[in-house]
């Protein structure tokens, strides 16, 4: 990969959710909306309007570009805040806290960018769940950092090679907007299928 090719932060989240989905979105560039993604998009349209404001002692900046040269990351933040000279990223999500930790990876990747951009270490981040109006604390632990860095490497490899990860069925497939394209159960169905004479 040449130095101008950055990894979209959003791809990390998708990769952690399902490598095959990540491939469809970022390598094959397919995208089909379903109910969940449409709700998510309109939420982000509201969030992604550049602006800054103050809330008590907190400086809030919305919708700015995040970038890390070290990790070759690029993305857009929903919201970053500065309070008591500490920076932290806040990622907006539709619905309730998911069963998967992919959102935390995304916050961690934003934190890595923010550290590089501000020169200060970032130790916490938040995920804001629109459905419950609750913020959930994400501790940017060493473990989460390592896991984010490993995911960055995997995504980098995926984008470079374009090799399609296998579509494997799991509980996650039920809410996935790609279900009807990737048909994760079909390989098994075809294997069992006996054609009529």
């Amino acid at each position: 990969m040449n130095n101008t090719e950055y990894i979209p932060i959003a791809a990390l989240n998708q990769y952690a959710y399902c490598p095959h989905r990540c491939w469809r979105m970022f390598c094959a560039e397919e995208f089909i909306d379903n109910q969940y993604t449409i709700e998510g998009t309109s939420l982000h349209e509201r969030v992604h309007t550049l602006g800054d404001s103050n809330r008590e002692d907190t400086w809030q900046i919305r919708a700015i570009y995040l970038k890390s040269e070290k990790y070759q990351l690029i993305g857009k933040s929903d919201l970053i805040e500065l309070e008591n000279s500490e920076w932290y990223p806040i990622e907006y999500k539709q619905g309730l806290k998911g069963e998967w930790d992919n959102d935390e990876l995304q916050v961690c990747a934003q934190a890595l960018c923010l550290e590089e951009m501000t020169g200060k270490s970032v130790t916490t981040g938040y995920i804001y769940y629109a459905h419950s109006h609750q913020r959930q604390l994400v501790e940017i632990s060493e473990e989460l950092r390592q896991s984010a860095i490993a995911t960055i490497k995997s995504v980098q490899n995926l984008l470079e090679t374009g090799i399609m990860p296998t579509a494997t069925y799991s509980k996650r497939c039920q809410g996935c907007s790609f279900y009807n394209q990737c048909l994760p159960q079909v390989a098994e169905k075809v294997r069992r299928y006996q054609e009529d004479i």
């Binding site: 390598c27 094959a28 579509a167 048909l183 079909v186």
Partner: protein, 334 residues
């Protein structure tokens, strides 16, 4: 969800907000939300506004132009899918590759098995028919298919099987005033052939729509490769659907006396036969109803409409070519 067919000569196809609005002599004759449309077919002389074309592209609704007799003219597609991996797999398999032979056998096997199935059903229903010779010939073509080692020999078996089926086709017509002798086209010169040709043109629009959605290059086929500029892959994937959808609709239209001889007109000199406007409406309605009919997909083991099954077969083909599944299962009806 469905395909909208515009058959009114001189109709004006426009859009109002996010709705398709069709006018004739300044009166609205159709007004449907674009979100409910998954294909637009314009038959004959109608005009369409540039804003509507832009909106169709935006909604990824394919637009097909046919003559008023159903002959294919042109097609407008939304931007090509960026899935270069699938197209690359499709091109790598071209020619006499193992994969090309496998899928070609699948298309032909699906078609011939479905031909056989409809003859068997007719034989059970009408014991006085004599379809056994045709059924036997189809069975031998199906059996020989397994041993075929070249695309040409698959084409040969496809030809033999189709000939066997069409030699029985007249017996499937249960009314006095229609007859079928042999398949003829360009132009079809009898009512039955004109219905078959029209039905296959409509089916091609639908199948091509499905293969475009999946991201194939429609012009690279395996079984149909002989002529430049034909959507060969659509013609390939159509094979298994021909008897199930088009032939079934044609026979239903005739045998249920929905179409009668006065629904057809014959051109002088050329003897080209086509439907009257009223006949065309009746036939389009039947075709549309058939596509919306649900059935249990033998591989997926779930209810789908025939319309949905076009895309499923295209996805199965994609998965086979991409190496995700071991075989291509054609749609074989029980």
């Amino acid at each position: 969800m469905g395909t909208v067919y515009i058959t009114q000569e001189d109709a004006f196809i426009g859009k109002v907000d996010e709705r398709l609005n069709v006018k004739y002599e300044k009166k609205t004759i159709l007004d449907v939300p674009l979100i409910k449309i998954d294909g637009l077919v314009v038959m004959g002389r109608a005009s369409i506004s540039p804003a509507t074309i832009a909106e169709l592209v935006n909604y990824k609704i394919p637009l097909t132009f046919l003559t008023n007799k159903g002959k294919y003219i042109a097609r407008l597609e939304p931007e090509m899918s960026k899935n270069i991996f699938l197209r690359s797999a499709q091109w790598k398999a071209m020619g006499e590759s193992t994969q090309a032979i496998h899928v070609s056998k699948g298309f032909v096997r699906g078609k011939l098995k479905n031909y056989r199935q409809s003859l068997l059903q007719a034989q059970r229903r009408y014991t006085e028919l004599n379809l056994s010779a045709g059924i036997t010939q189809l069975e031998s073509a199906i059996a020989n298919l397994a041993q075929a080692t070249s695309i040409d020999s698959i084409r040969g078996l496809e030809g033999a099987g189709s000939a066997a089926y069409f030699s029985c086709f007249n017996q499937l017509i249960r009314v006095e005033n229609f007859q079928f002798h042999t398949r003829n086209r360009r132009p079809p010169t009898d009512p039955v052939n004109s219905l078959l040709s029209l039905g296959y043109a409509l089916l091609r629009h639908d199948v091509q729509g499905a293969i475009n959605i999946v991201g194939f290059d429609p012009y690279l086929g395996y079984l149909h490769t002989e002529r430049y500029g034909r959507p060969s892959l659509a013609l390939d994937l159509m094979e298994e659907f021909r008897p199930v959808i088009v032939d079934a609709v044609v026979l239903a239209a005739i045998n249920r006396r929905i179409l009668v001889p006065t629904d057809f007109i014959t051109e002088p000199v050329s003897n080209a036969v086509s439907l009257t406007k009223e006949g065309l409406h009746k036939f389009l309605r039947l075709y549309q109803e058939k596509k919306q009919t649900k059935f249990k997909h033998p591989v997926m083991q779930k209810q789908y409409t025939y319309q949905e099954s076009f895309e499923i077969q295209a996805r199965l083909l994609a998965k086979y070519l991409m190496g995700e599944i071991e075989k291509y299962p054609p749609l074989v009806m029980k």
